[in-house]
Amino acid sequence: MAFFMPKFGPPNYRRVGASAIVLDCGESTGAIQSRLGRIAHDGRAWRGVREAVAAAGNLTLLFDRTSTDFDTLEAQLDAAWTREAEDTAAARVVEIPVCYGGGDGPDLEDVAAACALACEEVIALHARAQYTVAFVGFLPGFAYLDGLDARLQQPRRAQPRTRVPRGSVAVAGNQSAIYPFDSPGGWHLIGRTDLAMFDPRREPAALLQPGDRVRFIPQ
């Protein structure tokens, strides 16, 4: 039984290339992200679907043209969108231990200066918030976390780093994230965790899944 009807309207559908269809909600609230995550989960089992990827307010199905088509998938997506309106599952909470600042978080002081806060306040604001995994993308196990305190929000670094160490805890825009591998990156690094964000021997391999709640625990 649905106790409330979400306020957002029906999604738009867009066809990309010969074999990708995008469901676009036009915005990415927490309710939309969890709904998209559940539709992606269902969609993976549909005939001819090769990949189902939720991102920021949208969901893309890549399909095999020999076993399905745009019209069939659009109808399936539309039915799933209506069916998945209600979110009843209890979210899992994942705690991430973090060493803030120093060599682990080389941008902490710059972030504090840019936000006109003390370093301790940045840490407190980052660790006090509860985050929600909006989607996983960019790199294996890289989770985009919504819920960053408005006082910590700022654009990406003007000059991206060519190498961000694995485990780096970072902020940019209205999100936070943890780099699962050594990789290039443009977010501000404020701390580091030893937790493995991606492990191919684990099922699922990515530690954080869409809809999970995340808390950072200062060490």
């Binding site: 990309v16 290339g17 010969a18 990708a20 995008v22 949208n58 993308g137 960019f138 591998f181 990789s183």
Partner: protein, 278 residues
């Protein structure tokens, strides 16, 4: 009886164990990886008598030598590296046999970028998340998640039946990429683009008569190999096998799957064109 294996004496610039790719995990942020030139790769496996899912070696710009520890059928496809088997010229795109102890030498190719060496039984590295292919970003798959080094030993799967075909004609690379139009497609047509040096397995950066745009970044959406992204500079990036799973740039179009292999074979500095797919 000797081990079914080959030894990599010279590993070259970036030789990788590849298969078709690691599929169905892009929602976990896992890219496909896999052979850049899927067409040459598939031909090599077929000529070695292997299953389409077997793993082979992808070589970039030749300069590789490999010695067999066992008798085995094999095939070379892709970039022509004036290959030799024990100092005798070796025809590519053809089913061949090597005796234990024989050595294949690849020189630098005069055209194209990537050569595939498929060996009977396939390269037997562990399957990680459904694939044997190397993912350099996540350091998984292939041989310890890395490019091959001098002295590496690669195990082979068991012998297989003789292939149904002995020879395949190499395809002709026109470097005209059939493309399905996206939002910014008007910027692609009737121009000649040059493959830039920052091109790699994740994406090919093209240089040419670009028009900068001010759309900035969009909300992140899923991207796939073949998608043509246009960053604010206006110079298109064609996503390739190792492409990231999400991106935020506007899309100029999508190169059809059947033509991506040509870009994988386009050397740095080569000219490519986009033509509208009908």
């Amino acid at each position: 009886m000797s081990a079914r294996s080959v030894r990599v004496e010279r590993a070259g610039l970036q030789s990788l164990v590849v298969d078709r790719g690691r599929f169905g995990l892009r929602d976990q942020g896992v890219g496909w990886c896999g052979a850049m030139d899927a067409r040459s790769f598939a031909a090599a496996n077929a000529l070695a008598g292997n299953d389409a899912t077997a793993a082979a070696i992808e070589v970039v710009l030749g300069d590789v030598s490999v010695t067999f520890d066992c008798d085995a059928r094999f095939a070379l496809t892709g970039a022509d590296c004036d290959a030799q088997l024990d100092d005798a010229p070796l025809a590519a795109w053809r089913s061949q046999s090597a005796r234990a102890g024989s050595r294949i030498v690849l020189r630098r190719p005069r055209a194209w970028m990537r050569t595939y060496l498929a060996i009977e039984g396939g390269i037997d590295v562990p399957v990680v998340l459904g694939s044997r292919t190397t993912d350099l970003l996540a350091a998984m798959g292939g041989l310890d998640g890395r490019a091959l080094r001098n002295g590496d030993c690669l195990l082979l799967g068991g012998p297989v039946a003789a292939p149904a075909i002995a020879e395949i004609s190499p395809p002709r690379a026109t470097f005209e990429l059939r493309t399905i139009a996206g939002e910014l497609a008007a910027r692609l047509w009737q121009r000649t683009w040059t493959v830039g040096h920052q091109s790699n397995r994740m994406g090919y950066r093209l240089q040419g008569p670009a028009q900068p745009h001010e759309f900035g970044a969009l909300r992140s959406h899923a991207v796939f190999p073949g998608f043509i992204q246009v960053p604010p500079s206006g110079e298109p990036i064609v996503l390739m096998a190792d492409a990231q799973t999400t991106g935020g740039y506007p899309l100029a179009g999508v190169v059809v799957d059947e033509d991506i292999w040509m870009l994988a074979q386009a050397p740095l500095g080569a000219s490519v064109r986009f033509v509208e797919a009908t």
